[in-house]
Amino acid sequence: MDLLSWLTEPLQYGFLTRALLVTLAAAVVSAVLSCWLILMGWSLMGDAVSHAVLPGVALAYMVGIPFSIGAFLFGAGAVALIGAVRATTKLKPDTVIGVVFTALFAAGLAIVSSTPSQIDLMHILFGNVLGVTDGELWQVLILGAVTLAVVLFKRRDLTLLAFDRTHAHVMGLNTRFLSALLLGLLALSVVVGLQAVGIILVVAMLITPGATAFLLTRSFDRMLVLAVVLTTGAAVSGIYASYYLDISTGAAVVLSQSLIFTAVYLFSRPNGLVWQRQHQQQRRRAHRRRGTAAHLSNASANAKVTATTAAVPEKG
């Protein structure tokens, strides 16, 4: 079998083309958002929102409305609930997030288990990208496009929010609105990603691409581009791996992203682990060659010279 037919064969099936489109849309939207989420320190929030949408999806299927409406309402609701509990207690943020999302996830499980015939829990939890209908494809594409458009339109404000919230406030930007906007976009991208990889793994698409890109560059714009390029590669190779190796699509896509992250973590230059080790060894060898005398004079030169200012010592 030549390469071209190897590549085109899966696409003869309509369901696989739809799967590829849905996965690509979800992966790109999530990757773009992930750049801000990892810089805000909101990775756990992505996990929380994705789990919290379960009751929304279950209820939407029961009532017969598009799954995305139910999922978005519960995702946004979870965010609001977390915000409200945080504002009214002295609990740490991760504690509040943990309490709220597990409660909603359990509620979702309870709803699903009480109506076993109507909803396939496995599909919601682990994705059912091979069974995506045209209607669901359109939901994903439209929501994905809206999310992407809003993110890119507000990207400089969001970057400022992530970098220096106080300065944003000082210049009269509405930081509360921007935070709420980013959380709303997070909920939207969870909804978009659900179909592709399911509730459990959607958070991987919201963290890993941004994290991988962060390791590769020190420029935010380049980070955005890299996250999108890498996630596109992961999505396509995941779909093909799933077809030819006959493994779960969601798992294959997320595993591809993890493999790329691992490769970057180990081998990227100059910050990859392998290169850093090599660099260290080279330095150590050079050190040894220079001998003890040089080593000693070097150490004394490095001794920290502390400025003696006439500062009054502060007391806590």
Binding site: F163, H169, V170, M171, G172, T217, R218, A311, V312
Partner: protein, 253 residues
Amino acid sequence: MNLHVLAQDPVQDPALRISGLTVAYSEVLALDAVSLTLDAGLICGLIGVNGSGKSTLFKALLGLLEPQAGTVELFGMAHRQARRSGLVAYMPQAEDVDWNFPVSVNDVVGMGRYGHLGSMRRLRPADHSAVGAALERVGLEHLRKRQIGELSGGQRKRVFVARSIAQEAQLLLLDEPFAGVDRSSEATMTALLRELRDEGRSVLVSTHNLAGIPEFCDTAVLLHQRVLAHGTPEDVLTSGNLARAFGTPGTDN
């Protein structure tokens, strides 16, 4: 633009007018009926121990917290209006900044222009030249492409001064700007801030480095929940006042 507004007013509003400002965190009183007026065009040192209310005062000036009582006016305006007009700039403490954030020196200074821009915050040629001029002013134009974490302690501080210059702010609030900065960088910074003062800007600096104050500041405020003293550095930094503000060894505040 802002200079123009100020120039129109022959009797210039004070940079800062605080009256009866009271802030409490649950049961703990952080600021107790603080009243203070700072004239424009001066450098004022805000002195006090940790927990004396310096940071709380800054937060109140920036509208980051709701005081229990009292009012704050910046150039005769409520803080929201002053912020919207881009009159106030804040330099964060070094430990509050994510130095690994993927932004360049140029990006950070460009953020000073956001108040002047449309909703997409796209920098126009005039903004780019304002950013370039601000960087030149603080001597960092050759490092403009560096990621901010790749700068020395003193250079990092100057990036934020450049940002407030690009912003055309008239009141600079600096929180411990000399912490973790070596002597020569501190000298560069104080010279720079004095230049900005000479152009009519007002500067409020919180610091616990008393040695530099008489030389650097025009006025000083000694804070310990209340204003203990306010005046020229010589009047404020008396041993009696310092004993009241910093306490005697053994008595913790």
